[in-house]
């Protein structure tokens, strides 16, 4: 599977190269071509799942120089499915820590990881980073409701900090390695708490503070096997599922009682 991916990637790179060589030389400088690949496009969450390591790799080819694309940096952003959430903030009220304020956000990704070949601030300026969401500070959370921006920023950074500690939001400067200025490879670790759904991996080739090429790949995270069936049953056949849970507990309790009564 992985070998096939690599072969496909090399073939892609070769074709791009070949295309560049045979095409008539253009006057203007053309953009480099990004050829991406993912180690797994389907992650199955089944029994014993403790997380997954995703490899995103590929090549950057410059049509003009006919090979190496010169100096560039690679940034990979992996984003999980988004959902609207409410963030609550605890405060000390009468000596007790209780929820006080809250703020709503419409599109909060369940997972967000950025891997780059160098620290982001050395690759692009803040404006570009904000446009392409290159960093956990730049996630577009779409706040809703009427709360002043300062408070919203506090809630947003609280959310990012919380998810970062849970391993769901990651920043990994140096998580991308570039070989021979052509081949790159990024590693992103998914914890066992990942939500299922459609993930998008965006790869950016950046040169002199400018995004020169980008590509998107899709990764599906699904619950499979018995785990998938349990979730489906709990959602679709709630009554039977509840009945099953009750029967399981009654049966196990009864069995243990019988076994011990005999001895």
């Amino acid at each position: 599977m992985r070998l096939a991916g690599r072969l496909l990637l090399l073939l892609g790179a070769f074709l791009a190269l070949g295309g560049a060589l045979t095409a008539p030389p253009a006057l203007a400088q053309r953009e480099p071509v990004l050829v991406p690949a993912v180690s797994q496009s389907l992650i199955e969450v089944r029994q014993g799942f403790t997380g997954a390591r995703l490899l995103l790799y590929g090549a950057v080819v410059d049509p003009d120089s006919g090979g190496r694309a010169g100096d560039y940096d690679i940034v990979v952003v992996l984003k999980g499915p988004t959902a609207p959430v409410r963030i609550r903030e605890k405060e000390r009220i009468l000596g007790i820590w209780a929820n006080a304020g809250s703020s709503d956000f419409r599109s909060v990704p369940s997972f967000f990881a950025v891997a780059s070949s160098r620290p982001i601030e050395k690759i692009v300026d803040e404006r570009t980073a904000a446009i392409y969401e290159l960093g956990t500070n730049f996630i577009q959370l779409s706040p809703s409701g009427q709360i002043d921006p300062e408070e919203q920023a506090r809630f947003a950074s609280g959310l990012v900090e919380l998810r970062r500690r849970q391993g769901l939001y990651q920043e990994n400067p140096g998580g991308v390695s570039i070989a021979e200025k052509v081949l790159y490879q990024a590693r992103i670790d998914l914890p066992s708490t990942v939500t299922t759904g459609s993930y998008t991996a965006e790869t950016f080739a950046i040169s002199r503070g400018r995004v020169v090429a980008s590509a998107t790949a899709r990764i599906e995270v699904v619950k499979a096997g018995l785990e998938g069936q349990v979730v489906t049953a709990a959602q679709r056949w709630s009554f039977l599922y509840g009945l099953g849970a009750i029967l399981l507990s009654l049966g196990m309790g009864w069995l243990a009682g019988r076994l011990f009564a005999r001895t």
Binding site: L248, S249, L255, F260
Partner: protein, 304 residues
């Protein structure tokens, strides 16, 4: 041993969960408490979402109490008539509890209410039980001299109308008293994910004045039915019952419950009550500490 919990959405060490189930199982066999008051907080400390912890703990308590009920009924330790009245009350209470739960949840105050309830209930019951047990073990400590507590019910219970005879409990009281008691326990079962045995057992002894040898069995009988209703309510509304988590907890607790019942037959009841009182007070103190100290996470995320 890594086990992935499909509803809780995370991977845990299965051995820890089985051991935790075993611990609560021993408690349930020993004292007639479901052990939910220990399972739910410990599961939450372990990182399992609170709703999943409460829902799955209810399922586990069912299993732990069925073997307990069987063991106690073999030695005629269950008052079925009293149990039926308590169960009726418990079901009404569980429904009221479900409404309260969702109201508090939308206000964002469910966690704090649960913690305060734990501190108040466990703290006061633990202290009462501790005093009882200590004075029984060391007569004269409180200057009262050796005292034989005359078993009788609370005057309020005696004032209620329509008396029934509860033969096994040795009582002639109004069924309204156990009905209301069962209802209160039912509300707590839904709110706190506990069986309510820690509340039911002392209430049966000191408020209803039931005969000591049927208290544990009857309490388990009530818990058995109320937790079944709670499991179903959770399965239908919150969809938070994790079968894998429940199965692991069950495995430990059904075995533990048998050991607990064996120990209960041999140990001195005063010592057992002292041990339970200590445990209950410790958990109350831990919850109180949690309320007063700045939590690790100031922010919480809830889906809209």
């Amino acid at each position: 041993m890594d086990v992935y919990l499909p509803i809780a959405n995370l991977s845990v060490n299965g051995l820890y969960i089985v051991l935790l189930g075993g611990l609560t199982g021993i408690l349930s066999g020993l004292f007639g408490v479901g052990g939910g008051f220990l399972t739910t907080p410990l599961l939450i400390f372990y990182g399992i979402p609170p709703t999943v912890a409460a829902a799955s703990a209810a399922t586990q308590v069912t299993g732990a109490s069925v073997s307990g009920v069987l063991a106690h009924s073999r030695r005629k330790g269950v008052d079925y008539r009293m149990g039926a009245v308590l169960v009726m009350g418990g079901m009404i209470g569980a429904l009221i509890g479900a409404v309260l739960f969702s109201a508090l949840q939308s206000l964002g105050q469910i966690d704090v209410v649960i913690s305060i309830l734990y501190v108040l209930l466990l703290g006061s019951i633990g202290t009462l039980m501790m005093r009882e047990a200590v004075s029984a073990l060391r007569p004269g400590m409180f200057g009262k001299g050796p005292q034989v507590r005359k078993r009788r019910h609370h005057p309020l219970v005696a004032s209620l109308p329509y008396r029934w005879r509860f033969y096994a409990s040795g009582l002639y009281i109004s069924p309204l008293a156990p009905l209301i008691l069962g209802m209160l326990v039912g509300i707590l079962t839904m709110l706190m994910g506990v069986g309510g045995g820690f509340l039911l057992v002392p209430a049966m002894l000191y408020i209803l004045g039931m005969s000591g040898n049927v208290v544990v069995g009857t309490s388990l009988f009530q818990i058995l039915f109320v937790t079944m209703v709670t499991t179903m309510t959770h399965a239908l509304t919150t969809k938070a019952v994790d079968l894998v988590l429940a199965a692991l907890l069950l495995l430990g607790s059904v075995l533990g419950a048998q050991f607990g019942t064996q120990i209960a037959l041999k140990a001195r009841p005063e010592l057992l009550r002292l041990a339970l009182a200590t445990l209950v007070i410790l958990i109350a103190l831990r919850m109180l500490y949690g309320l007063g100290v700045q939590p690790d996470e100031i922010y919480t995320v809830v889906p809209l």
